[in-house]
């Protein structure tokens, strides 16, 4: 017996992008629900610490400058029309969040205050201490409760459903608590399920960031774009790879090498510690590789900021560093290193979240939308600026929600046979009933993560990436045989980790595929065998489509330039 539900719009994921999308669809007057594998406030948007960018024109800032710095930060791979939309709509969105109740930091006049962030000359980052993501996430959840948007809490989506014409018709998922499958019919589906950080080991990302949405869309026929663009954050804690906010440097912290030298002066003399993330991460890795590091790390020094500022503006990381590394920020520098942090690539969408192809028609699955880290517009191109990800989630979450609502009004209710659930259920049962073969999901995942971090990290080359490709192929074979020890129906996290690993392997393969194709160095994709950016050949996006049998079909899409011609990028 399976249950089925019906909505106009279904959102997969309840982080900032998902909740913002659901609220926008709700305001537009359609029936919307959210399905999420964790409670909304457990989402990884929580982890965004430093803030959210917006050029508020009423206080003398200039949205074009924000847009240009975003384009420059992206190493000119961002689509400039999308970036313009982002920068123009930022201010309005900050005010909406403030009116909803976000307790943004204030200046002396009681108006919204800002701090500086990397890759930008002006202080245009609005913030709540150093837990801006959490403060926004909880407020959006408040609004969701107020609007009584139904949430399928702790439900795991296994696949997208299409009707006979190939149109998006909803999702199939199961309730984690009971193991019961259900078909949720929807005219439009918005995937907002976040990133894929756990494909790498270590990563700043939460354990839930397993690329589910990207893999589900890819399998259903949508394009994944620029998957090779993986951001390494310059400041992650040595111990477990936890994130130390860029706000620390925004507030004035230094990066030091073994000799106590502020080495960024040799790499980015103007912007120093606040150059864009790819530049700083490469500088750090170079220092470490050339023997000027400290036990595989460099040092982040906050001592001169003083206890009061640290207490007021960096409280969370001060606690974090204290509990996880036993270090008092006020007294000692922190050992940090670059660590995998964010996926710039993702499900290819237009500025309204539609999974459109390069000709402006639905690619693969009509009715499929995406927003947030799962999606790729491309806004962030080869490298995302700090504090642009929160902005991305709310601006494009809202746009996707509104557009999906409009779309859902125009299309009829899709027809899907209930038997589709049975087939999906059987596939999962087959996985559950496999015998233990002494291999384990955890081992395969770990080997994948280490291979990705070793060969697709800050520096890449043909040889290493080919090795990674081979490793992934072998792991894929092992994955097809691995058993799940827990055979129960109730809260079977063993099963969930096995399903997630399947999604992660898909994502890993597309990252390697894109990285091998792109024979240049741009943004976060830095190849020691192709040291320079090559605008003649590579001012274009790489789109990958799933093909039965594993390999991807490749398409290229020129970058949309509006007002900024690519220039040499220096900080």
């Amino acid at each position: 017996m399976t249950t089925s539900y019906e909505y106009d719009v279904l959102v997969m994921g309840a982080g900032l992008a998902g909740m913002r999308a659901a609220l926008a669809a709700h305001e537009a007057g359609v029936r919307v629900a959210i399905m999420t594998k964790v409670h909304p406030v457990r989402s990884h948007s929580n982890a965004a610490q430093g803030g959210i960018n917006a050029a508020m024109t009423d206080r003398g800032d200039d949205w074009e400058e924000h847009a240009f710095e975003t384009v420059k930060g992206s190493d000119y791979l961002a689509d400039q029309d999308a970036v313009e939309t982002l920068a123009q709509e930022a201010g309005r969105e900050i005010l909406t969040l403030e009116h909803m109740g976000v307790i943004f930091n204030r200046n002396e006049e009681g108006r919204l205050g800002t701090r500086r962030f990397g890759g930008q000359k002006r202080a245009r980052t609005f913030f709540v201490s150093d837990f801006t993501g959490q403060a926004m996430l909880h407020v959006l959840y408040e609004q969701l409760m107020k609007a009584r948007v139904p949430v399928f809490e702790e439900w795991f989506v296994t696949s997208l459903v299409k009707d006979a014409d190939g149109r998006c018709a909803g999702v199939i998922g199961f309730e984690i608590r009971t193991g019961q499958f259900a078909l949720v019919k929807a005219k439009a589906v918005i995937i907002a399920s976040g990133g894929l950080g756990r494909v790498f080991e270590p990563s700043t990302n939460a354990l839930i960031c397993t690329g589910d949405g990207m893999a589900i869309a890819y399998r259903a026929g949508a394009a994944l774009m620029d998957m090779e663009m993986v951001q390494y954050h310059p400041t992650t804690l040595k111990e477990k790879g936890l994130l130390i906010t860029e706000a620390a440097r925004g507030e004035g912290a230094y990066l030091l090498n073994r000799d106590g030298e502020r080495f960024m002066k040799r790499y980015a003399p103007n912007m120093m510690e606040l150059a864009s993330r790819d530049v700083v991460s490469r500088a750090e890795q170079t220092e470490i590789n050339e023997g000027r590091g400290v036990d595989g790390c460099v040092l982040l020094d906050c001592r001169h900021l003083g206890r009061r500022l640290i207490q007021e503006r960096l409280r969370q990381i001060s606690d974090e560093v204290h509990s996880f590394a036993g270090i008092d920020l006020v007294k000692e520098p922190i050992p940090i290193r670059p660590g995998m942090h964010y996926q710039m690539g993702g499900i290819k969408t237009d500025v309204d979240g539609r999974c459109w192809d390069k000709h402006g028609v639905w690619a693969g699955v009509p009715g499929l939308f995406a927003a947030g880290e799962t999606a790729c517009l491309s806004l962030h191109g080869g490298n995302r600026l700090g504090a642009n990800s929160l902005l991305d989630t709310v601006v494009f979450g809202r746009r996707a929600g509104r557009c999906a609502a409009e779309y859902a009004r125009e299309v009829p209710t899709p027809h899907v046979p209930d038997s589709t659930v049975g087939m999906e259920q059987q596939a999962v049962s087959a996985l559950l009933s496999r015998h233990d073969n002494r291999d384990s999901v955890a081992t395969i995942r770990h080997e994948m993560g280490v291979a990705m971090n070793t060969h697709l990290g800050v520096f890449r080359d043909q040889e290493g990436m080919t090795t990674a490709k081979g490793t992934l192929e072998a792991l894929r074979d092992r994955y097809s045989l691995v058993g799940v020890q827990d055979k129960g129906q109730v809260f079977n996290t063993s099963l969930i980790r096995a399903l997630e690993l399947g999604f992660m392997l898909d994502c890993a393969e597309t990252i390697v595929c894109g990285a091998l194709l792109r024979r240049e160095s741009r943004g976060a994709h830095f190849r020691t065998d192709y040291l320079h950016r090559d605008d003649e050949q590579w001012l274009k996006h790489i789109l990958l489509y799933h093909q039965p049998g594993g390999s991807s079909r490749v398409e290229y899409l020129p970058v949309r330039l509006t007002r900024w011609e690519p220039k040499v990028r220096s900080y």
Partner: protein, 319 residues
């Protein structure tokens, strides 16, 4: 160092389904958290061990559980600190909520209570064109309570909830305070009126457990006390809770020590005959054992009570 973990297991699908303790031994080092250990157990020893966890950095609030008897985030608790307390590390699911499986609890009740306080901003008047003006201090003050990650630790260990399911609990009350103290919120009075009802802000017994176990220093009990004093300030209709506080202070002011029978009588109201009568059996039992304290005219002020009164005056000047 070899550490023994004693973990409470429960699987509703086995029969009979009863909770039991299972022990695992692991080699741990100084940096390991309880979450690291639990993940290690499920990855190498027993895949079926079930828990919620996500961020590993004390920000998502998933991995709340009782460790050596007190609620804590597994990701923020060091194994060896716990092991040094009693040799083993005992891990159990949170209290005051039903267990689904192993360390996973059902938090639906928790969220229902949060919803009960209408946890969204209810501004008064027209929305401004720009942002609401608010002082930097007021917003900074709110970061303390907005730091709450809704992990449930305070609710797990709340002594009042253990005996009174209707109590809305520390997490929901801290959330309510976040709005009452927000200068942009216009519904403060109606919020306080609602919290004045049974099950609301007066049902906290001030055991301090919520302050003790909170991984984010939200200080729920302090917020509850702030709600109470704001309630008294805006003259929410007098309830036993508010009167208890007022009479307490008045008796101390007058006599320098507590007149307990009078405290009870005036809290319930001297004309509240039925309630006072209901106390009679207890009073009689206490009388038989010679434990009824002196009261009224027989209860003298302490010597030097003037000094006490000066303390009160000084406090009032400060307020």
């Amino acid at each position: 160092m070899i550490t023994t973990f004693r973990i409470r297991r429960f699987n509703p699908e086995t029969s009979p389904s009863r909770p039991y303790f299972q022990e695992y031994k692991l080699d741990t080092d100084r940096a390991d958290t309880v979450l690291d250990a639990l993940i290690h157990i499920r990855e190498t020893l027993d895949e079926s061990l079930t828990l919620r966890c996500s961020c590993r950095g004390a920000i998502c609030g998933s991995c709340s559980m009782r460790i050596n008897g007190h609620a804590a985030l597994a990701c923020k608790t060091k194994v060896q600190v716990m092991a040094s307390e009693r040799g083993v590390v005992q891990v159990e699911p949170m209290n005051n909520m039903p267990v689904i499986k192993d360390l996973v609890t059902d938090m639906a009740g928790f969220w229902n209570k949060v919803r009960q306080v209408q946890p969204w901003l209810q501004p008064a008047g027209q929305e401004p064109e720009g942002e609401y003006l608010a002082s930097s201090e007021s917003m900074n003050h709110l970061t303390g309570v907005m730091g709450c990650i809704m992990c449930g630790a305070c609710v797990s260990d709340c002594a009042a909830l253990e005996v009174d399911e209707r109590f809305v609990g520390p997490a929901a009350l801290a959330k309510a305070y976040r709005f009452v103290a927000d200068p942009r919120d216009g519904a403060g009075r109606s919020r306080l009126l609602a919290l004045n009802e049974p099950g609301g802000m007066w049902d906290c017994t001030r055991c301090m457990e919520c302050i003790e176990v909170c991984p984010k220093s939200v200080g729920a009990m302090d917020r509850i006390m702030s709600l109470r004093s704001r309630g008294i300030q805006v003259d929410v209709p007098s309830t036993c809770g508010a009167r208890h506080a007022e009479v307490f202070a008045d008796l101390i002011y007058r006599k320098g020590r507590l007149d307990e029978p009078m405290l009870a009588a005036r809290t319930f109201g001297l004309r509240n005959f039925s309630r006072l009568l209901s106390l009679l059996p207890m009073v009689l039992r206490a009388f038989v054992r010679g434990k009824v304290p002196k009261s009224g005219p027989f209860h003298r002020a302490i010597p030097g009570v003037e000094k006490m009164r000066r303390l009160f005056q000084r406090m009032e000047e400060r307020l």
